[in-house]
């Protein structure tokens, strides 16, 4: 394997192409990133009642996430400790227990072994059932309804891991009544490396006008959303215009999270005025309680990724989990993120628009999927993957911001948060301890900044 410390260079701007292709690098990612990081599982709204469960993956490990009878959230590996068979094949439901189809061992919704068929006759009651529960995650926590878990008992608490990313996300997660994910999730396979969609969502304002030229044109013409003069998203179409300073920011926060935000455009892709009206209604409360920055963030359109493999677009309201399935394949889960207190018709409308734009046949999703596969597949060539790729845009106008946390660059078309992601990736791949990576530094209250 190549020298891990040389894979990322120039402060995160240069990536060795082998990181998108090589099996041994991928395996090291499983060990050093996926077995250690906090990983997204689900939203509490998906499993509200005792016995509710979903199945998902942490890295390539199959896990069950459930609401136990005591109301607690639980997550454990979906594999029987007897002979290893997967114990649950349904993707969601409500149950009292999970029974292995091989020999009938049954586990409670806390993962504990409760029934061993013929226990008396075969084990002569000499089996320590406490020893053979489903393997638990080391820690499970939620951030405003989003549930995460880690296999690493030494990982810092979730809020430290999210750090300033949560400070930013509070703008739309910390709303009266909270948020929910609408499903069932659409699921599809993309033959790309898992990092490619993460970097796209974390900070690729550059591709919007070009890759999505056709969709922006069609939406704009048929929905009458206003031309480039009035709608900043539309001004990007075909790279006809460039978003100058002041129209948005890109941010990289400690820990490799990041986002790009275009101000005043949360509702820019929507012709239905109900969404804009809701935002205006909510903004009054947010401004009064949490100040001008929170209100500004709440009304922006965001593309974002939470390290390592979870992304969302706020405003388009899509929420994505990119699950690695080998170095050159991922399984994509897609939900719609809404506020709980929104009227039902508005939720339905937002879900429909999310499916239309970023679902499995979404008009923008399919532009991206094609590029993500192309960025991965070309590295098949041995000579090709001896080379490097470049994310150097925006280095001259990024830095600390007088008011906002993280490294901030002016304008959404930059690659600031690409670099932050790859610096964090390199840190974790080097095998540094959490202390050495100094996670969990600044996390200011949004009020302090306002």
């Amino acid at each position: 394997m190549k020298d891990v410390s040389a894979l990322i260079q120039e402060n995160g701007a240069v990536q060795d192409r082998s990181i998108y292709w090589d099996r041994d690098i991928y395996e090291l990612e499983q060990e050093r990133i996926f077995a250690r990081s906090w990983l997204f599982l689900t939203h509490e709204s998906q499993i509200p009642l005792a016995g509710d469960f979903i199945t998902t993956r942490m890295g390539e490990d199959e896990v069950i996430v459930s609401r136990h009878t005591d109301g607690s959230l639980q997550a454990y590996i979906n594999s029987c400790p007897h002979r290893g068979n997967q114990v649950c094949y349904a993707e969601m439901g409500n149950t009292k227990s999970f029974t292995c189809a091989y020999h009938g061992w049954a586990f409670g919704t806390d993962g504990k072994l409760i029934t061993v068929p013929l226990e008396h006759e075969t084990y002569y009651d000499n089996i320590d059932k406490a020893r053979f529960g489903l393997q638990q995650v080391a820690q499970i926590e939620s951030y405003r309804g989003l549930v995460f878990a880690t296999f690493d008992p030494t990982a810092p608490p979730l809020m430290s891991f999210l750090g300033d990313m949560a400070w930013y996300m509070d703008a739309f997660m910390d709303v009266p009544g909270g948020t929910e994910l609408l499903g069932p999730p659409m699921k599809s396979i993309l033959d790309c490396n898992w990092k490619v969609p993460v970097e796209n969502f974390i900070g690729d304002g550059y591709h919007v006008g070009w890759a999505h030229a056709a969709a922006l044109d069609a939406i704009n013409r048929l929905q009458g959303l206003g031309g480039a003069e009035t709608n900043p998203l539309m001004s990007m179409q075909g790279n006809a215009g460039y978003n100058p300073d002041g129209t948005g920011i890109q941010v990289s926060t400690l820990g490799g999270h990041g986002m790009g935000i275009i101000w005043e455009t949360a509702a820019a892709l929507h012709v239905n005025p109900a969404y804009g009206e809701w935002l205006a209604y909510r903004t009054e409360t947010i401004r009064a309680e949490r100040g001008e920055w929170a209100a500004k963030l709440y009304n922006g359109h965001w593309d974002a990724s939470i390290f390592p493999n979870c992304s969302f677009l706020y405003g388009t309201n899509t929420f994505k989990h990119w699950q690695p399935a080998g170095p050159r394949s991922i399984e994509v889960f897609t939900w719609t993120l809404v506020e709980k207190e929104m009227p039902e018709e508005l939720k339905q409308y937002l879900a429909m628009m999310n499916m239309m734009t970023f679902g499995t046949a979404g008009m923008l999703e399919t532009d991206d999927g094609e590029n993500m596969e192309g960025c991965t597949g070309s590295n098949r060539g041995w000579m090709t993957r001896q080379g490097k790729v470049y994310a150097g845009m925006g280095q001259v106008n990024e830095g600390p911001h007088p008011e906002l946390p993280g490294i901030v660059s002016e304008g959404i078309v930059a690659e600031t948060s690409y670099r932050g992601f790859y610096r964090a990736w390199a840190d974790m791949m080097s095998g540094k301890s959490w202390e050495e990576m100094s996670r969990g530094a600044s996390r200011r209250s949004i009020k302090e900044v306002a």
Binding site: A90, G183, P185, A213, L222, M355
Partner: protein, 192 residues
């Protein structure tokens, strides 16, 4: 101690409702209509399809199937899962997808993909409401070949509600059921 096994009636035990059969000539016209529609789509005459094969009140959907245990069949899903789908389109949204394709700026479709639709097991019966509309069922196979070596085959079935408009069939409701929980192709950006 042996674990008690809770038994359920697993297979489909709902009674089959025998509806009035279509006269042979009508059945033939439904079959030919569906087959002709597949050819029009294979030939990428999407605007023609949009204007001649659909009614303006169409609901064109591809619901997300959920993989659950049989014992929970018919029960509501847990949590906030009101339903989703790769397509949940009305006439206007379908029109937007087509306008996008017509721009010539969809890089994924250039060079052109080869898409071939195969329809089989066509069955049809009158709609329950006595409107004269016909419910048509068929299985499909879609072959897609693109980018030299990118090849997928997708299977499923669709249920249409067909309406006679000026002596020709038009679809006023189409529900496409993919036989894949996880779409194994990267997307499903083809009309069926």
């Amino acid at each position: 101690m042996s674990a008690a096994i809770a038994k359920i009636n697993a297979v489909n035990s709902e009674p089959l409702i025998e509806r009035e059969q279509l006269p042979q000539e009508l059945m033939y016209s439904v079959e030919r209509h569906l087959i002709r529609e597949a050819r029009i789509l294979d030939e990428e005459r999407i605007r023609y399809w949009y204007e001649n094969f659909l009614t303006e009140d169409i609901m064109y959907s591809m619901p997300t199937p959920v993989s659950r245990y049989r014992r929970e069949k018919g029960k509501p899903l847990p949590g906030t899962n009101p339903g989703s789908g790769a397509y949940m389109d009305n006439y206007e949204l379908l029109g937007m997808r087509i306008a996008r394709l017509e721009t010539g700026l969809v890089w994924m479709e250039d060079p052109q993909n080869a898409i071939r639709r195969f329809l089989t097991n066509i069955d049809a019966e009158y709609a329950e409401d006595g409107s004269g509309d016909v419910i048509a069922y068929c299985n499909f196979m879609v072959y897609r070949n693109r980018r030299q070596r990118d090849e997928t085959v997708t299977y499923g079935h669709k249920v249409d509600r067909l309406r006679q408009v000026d002596g020709k069939w038009r679809c006023s409701q189409r529900t496409i059921h993919m036989d894949q929980r996880v779409i194994l192709d990267k997307n499903v950006t083809f009309f069926l």
